[in-house]
């Protein structure tokens, strides 16, 4: 497949791995932000190709994993209302709330539908004027433009029965939070290529400057990841801290301006709680006051859902790159994709799921 196979080419990958070995003289801790990159690393065994003194830790870029428990509980509560159709990305359905998940709600009779794109939810609202259609709008900057477009379209059409339960998070404030944390070990970041396709590289300049930390915007194929690692290692070995772009075939400095415009029109920046991490100031998006009529949080009287979250699993440390999934005593035993203790074991972008699905043989050894 064009534009794909060349980025999975084993000769190029092995050559890059050899270059990394040559370039590395000291131990370095690198973090990939995006769960998609985590899965590439695990699926292709990229960490096996790297020298031992390069440690890859996995970041918080799994949209499902960082969606607060309260949002999941609210979605379930909404779904169970007979007048509501809850529309969600498929990945969200198995994520455990405090007592249930959306699949179980569906089995109890809730009308929960999987959408591949948020505009489908608008279509469902159009086709079911007697029902209230709520779209569970979650994710990073990647999904924000399409989710914004759904609200924009609904407003333009005056669809009164459509709303969104929004839990949107932003990458740069999360990197900032990791860097100011006293427990941080990360010395270089692979920034998420899809997010940067939308937002451009420009947002990462200030992080590089403020923390003197190298950041390389990276793609999602094995060759992309290896190249990004090589670029980071070269900077670190040379004592440099620059913003570089490995994913040039998709990411520009400015990003996708029309996408940013629709986001700015529909959303505003707000404080946001991250599941497993906690509240990070100005790290999320919520619908702006002009779109209040489409905000499920304001349309429905959901009340304040407060959730008791006992520290059963270590997903907090995993999401911050402080621990590996395999450091968890519950990993693969009490916590599996069938009986997950935390969201990272459920999502197709979660770090625990990546280890479980692809690397159990190595763990067993």
């Amino acid at each position: 497949m064009k534009y794909l196979d060349e980025y999975r080419d084993h000769r190029i990958a092995r050559a890059l791995a050899a270059e990394i070995v040559q370039a590395t003289t000291r131990p370095w801790v690198l973090m990939e932000i995006c769960g998609g990159q985590t899965h590439t690393i695990m699926r292709y065994g990229i960490d096996e190709l790297l020298p031992r003194n390069i440690e890859i830790v996995h970041g918080p870029g799994c949209p499902v994993c960082v969606t607060p428990l309260e949002t999941v509980d609210k979605a379930i509560a909404l779904a169970l209302r007979p007048d509501v159709i809850l529309v969600s990305y498929g990945d969200m359905l198995r994520v455990p709330g405090s007592h249930s998940d959306l699949f179980r709600a569906k089995a109890q009779g809730a009308d929960v539908r999987i959408a591949y794109s948020p505009t489908e939810a608008v279509k469902i609202a159009r086709a079911n004027p007697e029902r209230k259609v709520v779209f569970l709008a979650i994710g990073f900057e990647t999904t924000a433009p399409a989710n914004a477009m759904a609200a924009w379209q609904a407003k333009r059409e005056g669809l009164a029965n459509f709303s969104m339960l929004v839990s949107h998070v932003l990458v740069p404030p999360a990197i900032r939070a990791l860097m100011v944390s006293s427990s941080n070990r990360v010395q270089g970041f692979i920034a998420p290529g899809h997010v940067c396709t939308v937002m451009g590289c420009k947002e990462y300049e200030s992080l590089v400057h403020d923390f003197r930390v190298p950041i390389v915007v990276g793609g999602f194929e094995p060759v992309d990841i290896l190249e990004a690692v090589l670029m980071l290692v070269r900077q670190l070995e040379a004592g440099e801290a620059k913003l570089e772009n490995q994913y040039v075939r998709s990411v520009s400095y400015q990003g996708n301006i029309p996408a940013q415009e629709i986001m700015a029109e529909v959303f505003e920046i707000a404080d946001q709680k991250w599941r497993g991490i906690g509240p990070i100031p100005q790290s999320g998006l919520r619908l702006s006051s002009e779109y209040a009529a489409y905000d499920a949080d304001r349309v429905f009287d959901l009340g304040e859902i407060t959730v008791d979250e006992p520290a059963e699993c270590i997903s907090a440390q995993v999401l911050q790159g402080l621990k590996k999934p395999t450091d968890c005593p519950a990993f693969g035993m009490r916590c599996t994709p069938e009986n997950p203790l935390g969201a990272p074991m459920v999502s197709s972008e979660g770090a625990c799921a990546a280890y479980y699905h692809y690397r159990r043989h190595a763990v067993a050894k």
């Binding site: 998609g36 292709y44 699949f103 591949y116 939070a177 520290a311 907090a316």
Partner: protein
């Protein structure tokens, strides 16, 4: 938009409590993955335990007056009813014939039961029945009995079909999922994922166009050809399975588990059509978990592998057959895969259905 610098980060370490034990049926229980296996293990096996059922193969093989009869049953709930490359009628014939064929049986007779929702179009029913008739005739099997039930509007999903099949197992043929041995080769009859992606592309809301056709086909003639090259003295084929729901990965995981062996696949040898790869990339699906309705996996003794592969390639339904892996002692119960980079990963059995990713 701009972001402010956070001043004080209050890191809250939090995670939810585990969910209570399952007390209701979820869609995932019908996915062919781990939830389905749990259901069979916990509910059905204890209720009906007997040696034929305990084999847990695609068909039961019972002895009647010295003849070995293969029996199988399958219900078809596919949506949409008509899809590129087939429909629920032809699928109901192919699926059941294939379950017989995987035991090495020659399929002979079918039953067909129709559960129809009130209000269903008579014309569509006619089309389905005609397709079922044609598929049975082409496969050389007879539909010898049937049943019809009509349920109230809203109590069914248009049309469900159940077919039961009976066939005869030739002497000397003994195929079962517990017979894989280290050193055996894993053979796959052709490209994977075609059926699942053809169905998915037809579903409402997935806005991409494709020419992918379901691979729905009856495999008994291909199987007869394969059995033809492994003689009674040299029975090279240990086991055959058609990787339907749950795909190649679930089927191989079952074999690895039943035989307590490891299975290692070679990723670069997996036959996958470009369009299927493209659709899977787009949706974040792994073709190894996507359903097939006209493919088979065979575990074959190493000395017979080339002959069986040759026989497969000589049949139109096996033209793209490949050796995709090897049975090994290491990692019993696990399926692993050598990636193009030379590293190894696990090919897990999924809990439920594969879910398209978010971004």
């Amino acid at each position: 938009m701009s972001t402010k610098t956070p001043v004080d980060i209050n890191l809250q370490f939090s995670c939810p409590t585990p969910l209570p034990a399952r007390d209701t049926i979820l869609l995932g229980h019908g996915s062919g993955g781990k939830l389905s296996a749990e259901l069979i293990r916990d509910i059905f096996l204890p209720a009906f335990q007997n040696p034929s059922l305990a084999r847990l193969d695609d068909q039961a093989i019972v002895n009647v007056n010295g003849q070995r009869l293969a029996i199988t049953t399958d219900s078809f709930v596919v949506k949409p009813l008509f899809f590129p490359g087939g429909d629920i009628g032809s699928l109901a014939v192919h699926g059941t014939i294939n379950d017989l064929a995987m035991g090495g049986a020659t399929p002979l007779f079918l039953s067909a039961a129709f559960i129809i929702e009130e209000g269903f179009s008579m014309d569509e029913l006619r089309r389905v029945v005609n397709s079922l008739r044609r598929a049975a005739a082409e496969a050389g099997v007879h539909v010898v009995t049937g049943d019809t039930k009509v349920v109230e509007k809203g109590k069914g999903d248009g049309l469900f079909i159940n077919t039961t099949g009976i066939g005869l197992v030739p002497e000397g043929v003994d195929l079962s999922a517990d017979r894989a041995r280290p050193g055996d080769k894993v053979l796959l009859s052709g490209s994977i994922g075609d059926h699942g992606i053809a169905i998915l592309a037809q579903r409402e809301g997935l806005e991409f166009e494709t020419t992918i056709q379901s691979d729905s086909a009856a495999l008994h003639a291909l199987v007869a050809r394969m059995l033809g090259v492994s003689s009674n003295d040299n029975p090279g084929i240990r086991c055959m399975r058609d990787p339907t729901r749950g795909g190649v990965s679930s089927t191989l995981n079952e074999i690895a588990e039943r035989s307590q062996v490891g299975i290692e696949l070679e990723e670069s040898s997996l036959p996958i059509h470009e369009e299927v790869r493209g659709a899977c990339e787009l949706l974040g699906l792994d073709p190894l978990y996507v359903a097939n309705e006209g493919k088979l996996l065979a575990i074959v003794a190493p000395e017979a592998a080339d002959a069986v592969l040759g026989a497969m390639r000589g049949h139109p339904l096996g033209a793209e057959a490949q050796i995709i892996g090897t049975v090994q002692i290491e990692n019993p119960g696990l399926v692993t895969m050598r990636t193009p980079l030379g590293t190894t990963r696990v090919v897990d059995m999924l809990a439920g259905d594969q879910l398209p990713r978010i971004c």
